[in-house]
């Protein structure tokens, strides 16, 4: 197998356009109309590239609700006016993070020059009971779920183990994730939950699965996101595009059931995905200027800090307490609001993170724009850690000097 470093030496891939729908609940939209909107916005941002330039599409969706479980990919791309070979990726909540990775592989291998990677999900149009059937489908079905565990329950088991292992950590540290991400989401016009919350709001909210409260859990969401991944030649041929270089991408999988893993206080797939992404990008956690991490439940953001190497084991609470990952901190995390406040339309989440990275790196992030970031990292997890993908983007188009490098 080619090493991550060797893969990095293949021709470069760039993100030159990205768009997403608002995330929220949209009874008037379908999974196809949402996806078409995301495609329109991605193309409109891509400096002259059009539908006719797209060679391939890779789309991620879990298929919540059961709508068009088979051939879901062509069902959305044809609707959106893209009659190109389409591959649908299913890796639960990491579906479109993997779709982006597949697009990068296609471009770097030379098999395609312009690939649209995206994702979509509609989660709010079914009854509460039906939705509950679908929420746990990415947990381990035959054993974990048959203990009566929900997805929140599995992450709550991680949270309980984390509190037990790291005596200094408290439930308030989970709440700090909610406070930060709600504050960030309130600045993002695409976010689902655009309101702030206090530490007490979060800690005192109704318990969902002890020790996690309602504010420690992301919402169910409708939405779609799409990004255009192109070769360095295409990027160079379209000087009007705002390009961000795909510096590294890493992925890993693991046992689907939490009980099958050696640790409950880390997500080993995240660690391994991050290692190969850093290696391919020839960079390290210290070089990351900002990150979008998979905070489906508050504990997941703490684990992400540690799995991604932003701090040592057990030190995630300190990062939150000291404001390191606040929007004005040294390493802003989930400036978009994250899954917690921006929303978590399962199949669209990974691509949505890349949209945020691209916007921040190319100066399109509006009111929440960070001060000239150069390196952004996206971290997307499937289930409770059965799949993970980490993508590192760098500022700068093809042939341009990346400042500071």
């Amino acid at each position: 197998m080619r090493s991550a470093r060797e893969a990095g030496a293949m021709r470069d891939a760039y993100v030159v356009g990205a768009g997403q729908t608002d995330f929220g609940s949209f009874p008037d939209e379908s999974y196809r109309s949402l996806f078409a909107t995301a495609v329109d916005r991605a193309l409109a941002s891509a400096g002259g590239l059009g539908r006719e330039d797209v060679d391939e599409a890779v789309v991620g969706t879990l298929g919540v609700g059961g709508r068009q479980l088979g051939l879901s990919g062509p069902a959305v791309t044809e609707f959106a006016g893209l009659s190109v070979p389409t591959t649908r990726v299913e890796n639960a909540c990491a579906a479109s993070g993997y779709a982006v990775r597949n697009a990068v592989q296609a471009v770097k291998s030379g098999m395609a020059d312009v690939v649209l990677a995206g994702g979509y999900e509609v989660m709010t149009d079914a009854s509460g009971d039906t939705t509950k059937y679908w929420l746990g489908v990415s947990g381990e079905t035959e054993w974990e779920r048959l203990t009566g565990a929900t997805f929140a329950g599995t992450y709550a088991q991680m949270a309980r183990a984390y509190l037990d292992e790291h005596g200094a950590a408290t439930v308030d540290d989970f709440s700090r994730v909610a406070v930060k991400n709600h504050a960030n989401g309130s600045e993002n016009p695409h976010a689902q939950l655009r309101f702030e919350c206090s530490l007490d709001d979060a800690s005192d909210a109704a318990t969902v699965a002890d020790p996690l409260t309602l504010y420690h859990c992301c919402p169910t969401t409708d939405g779609a996101a799409a990004v255009l991944v192109v070769s360095e030649e295409v990027a160079a041929d379209h000087p009007d595009t705002d390009a961000a270089r795909v510096a590294g991408v890493g992925a890993a999988s693991d046992r689907v059931g939490l009980f099958e893993r050696d640790t409950y206080t880390a997500i080993p797939a995240s660690e391994r995905a991050a290692e190969s992404a850093y290696e391919m990008a020839d960079t390290s956690p210290e070089d990351v200027d900002f990150a979008e991490v998979h905070d489906c439940f508050a504990i997941a953001e703490l684990l992400a800090y540690e799995d991604l190497g932003f701090c040592e084991r057990g030190e995630a609470p300190e990062l939150l307490r000291e404001g390191v990952t606040d929007r004005d901190g040294r390493l802003p995390v989930n400036v978009s609001g994250g899954l917690k406040a921006k929303g978590h339309p399962i199949g669209a989440t990974g691509a949505g993170q890349i949209v945020e990275l691209w916007k921040q790196l190319t100066g399109h992030a509006g009111d929440r724009q960070l001060d000239d970031p150069e390196v952004g990292l996206a971290h997307n997890v499937g289930g409770s850690g059965g799949a993970a993908v980490v993508t590192i983007l760098e500022e700068g188009g093809a042939g341009q000097e990346v400042s500071g490098k």
Partner: protein
């Protein structure tokens, strides 16, 4: 055949007579102070497994050594389908076990025992019932639950010194029509008493006996066994010594056998056992203990329920399982895993010897795909991590259970292998009865329970109880 061990089980929950009276304005079951109420995930089969496991343990017999299984019940979850098939698996009896099922009336317990006495090989007799009647009838007020089991072999200490039986014809005193969940009766008091007295006394009359320490008589309520005592020449203390109905309620096919277990546990050496079922039929036995017959019985109630709490556990207030979609485990794929689900059988990797649960797929330690040797786990384990699933948060399959019992916990528990050491993590549900969920590091004990119903097919599996919440007796 002789009795070598006895097991008994009644659910921990009790509904007191005064709570029924407070709710309904009446409690018409005579001689009953409280009735046992199965938890929402208990039924006649899980109770049968609890009693059967205790009987095997008391007799010191391995499950695989049992050659014959007799199951008696009037309230198995399915009217058609061999309940012995499920019970065999829950208990770990071999597939070459010969089994027979007895039902039709509450005399089934005696019929199952009588048939077992004709066998030549180690036989497990289990009687289990969760009786249910209308809330405005005495029978509904008396309805209790419990299970009793006897191990019979050639050299147990309990000698069956005699037996008798009687079949009379008394329609209408107690019956349940096909498809109905509730047993009822015409309520012709004198007629019912006559049927009971004539039939049961007729069976006992066939026995040759002078005195007994206890008389374990069928007890649909706490009145009928005492009414027949005179006809049998028994004093009330002797009847009371073999009667648990006051604290358990009407346990149907298990009723008299529960009385037997209780009497033996209290040291009775000679016991008269008589079962009765409406219609009417009766079986009577005289048991002489040549030395102590080992008994393992868990009959005490340690949790009191309100009337609403009891009916809620029975499922009177919820709408059942919501319509589906999403995660689904087919019956064939569920069946493939029964040894692991019912009896916590893990696997030992043929390549590296590590334990794996469930025992399938590549080894988690060495990655080999050489397969596994069966490695049964101990019933006690240690909590590795745990959460409590709040009310309303259960997956749909578990929504009815949560509506009926309240919050439960979901845990990952480390169990050790019975042989050869090693430890493996198993995801399990923790059954809570108003106590807090166990903490990391706490001990829990595996119990057989209903997981959920889907497509009309009940799924059973191991859950755990906090070890410090487990009843002693």
């Amino acid at each position: 055949m002789r009795v070598s061990g006895v097991g008994a089980y009644a659910p921990r929950f009790r509904l007191p007579a005064e709570s029924v009276e407070a709710a309904l304005g009446q409690f018409r079951a005579r001689g009953i102070d409280r009735v046992a109420v199965p938890d929402a995930d208990e039924d006649a089969l899980t109770m049968a497994a609890e009693a059967g496991e205790r009987a095997l343990d008391a007799a010191g017999l391995e499950a695989v050594e049992v050659d014959v299984l007799h199951l008696a019940s009037t309230t198995l979850p399915c009217e058609e389908e061999a309940g012995t098939g499920r019970l065999r698996s829950l208990l770990g009896l071999g597939e070459d076990t010969e089994s027979a099922q007895f039902g039709g009336s509450t005399d089934a317990g005696g019929a199952a025992l009588a048939a077992a006495l004709e066998r030549d090989d180690p036989t497990l007799v289990v009687a289990s019932d969760a009786v249910r009647g209308a809330d405005d009838e005495a029978l509904g007020h008396a309805a209790g639950a419990g299970a009793a089991a006897l191990v019979l072999d050639r050299d147990g200490p309990g000698r069956v010194a005699g037996r008798g039986s009687q079949t009379t014809t008394y329609p209408g005193s107690r019956f349940r029509e096909r498809g109905s969940a509730e047993t009822t009766g015409l309520g012709v008091t004198s007629y019912d008493r006559q049927a009971f007295r004539e039939t049961l006394a007729g069976a006992v009359d066939e026995l040759d006996w002078e005195r007994v320490d206890a008389a374990a008589l069928q007890a649909p309520d706490g009145d009928l066994p005492y009414r027949v005592a005179d006809a049998l020449g028994l004093d009330t203390e002797t009847v009371a010594a073999g009667c648990v109905v006051r604290n358990v309620g009407d346990a149907g096919a298990a009723s008299a056998l529960l009385g037997l277990a209780d009497a033996l546990r209290d040291g009775a050496e000679e016991v008269l056992l008589a079962t009765y079922g409406s219609g009417a039929a009766s079986h009577a036995f005289r048991l002489v203990c040549e030395s102590d017959v080992p008994v393992r019985a868990t009959l005490n109630g340690d949790r009191e329920l309100s009337f609403a709490g009891a009916r809620r556990r029975r499922g009177d207030f919820d709408l059942g399982t919501p319509e589906g979609g999403g995660a689904y485990v087919s019956v064939p794929s569920y069946r493939r895993t029964l040894a692991a689900r019912h009896r916590l059988v893990a696997g030992r990797c043929r390549a590296c010897g590590a334990l794996r649960f469930p025992p399938e797929g590549a080894c988690g330690d060495c990655g080999a795909t050489d397969g596994y040797e069966d490695a049964p786990l101990r019933e006690r384990g240690t909590v590795e991590t745990v959460t409590t699933i709040s009310q309303g948060g259960a997956p749909p399959e578990f929504a009815p259970q949560q509506a009926r019992t309240g919050e439960y916990a979901s845990a990952i528990v480390a169990f050790t292998a019975r042989d050869g050491g090693g430890e493996v993590s198993v995801p399990v549900q923790v059954v809570l009865a108003d106590e807090d969920a166990p903490a990391i590091g706490d001990e829990v004990v595996a119990v057989p329970r209903v997981l959920y119903d889907q497509e009309g097919v009940r799924r059973y599996g191991a859950k755990v109880l906090p070890a410090d919440s487990r009843r002693r007796r």
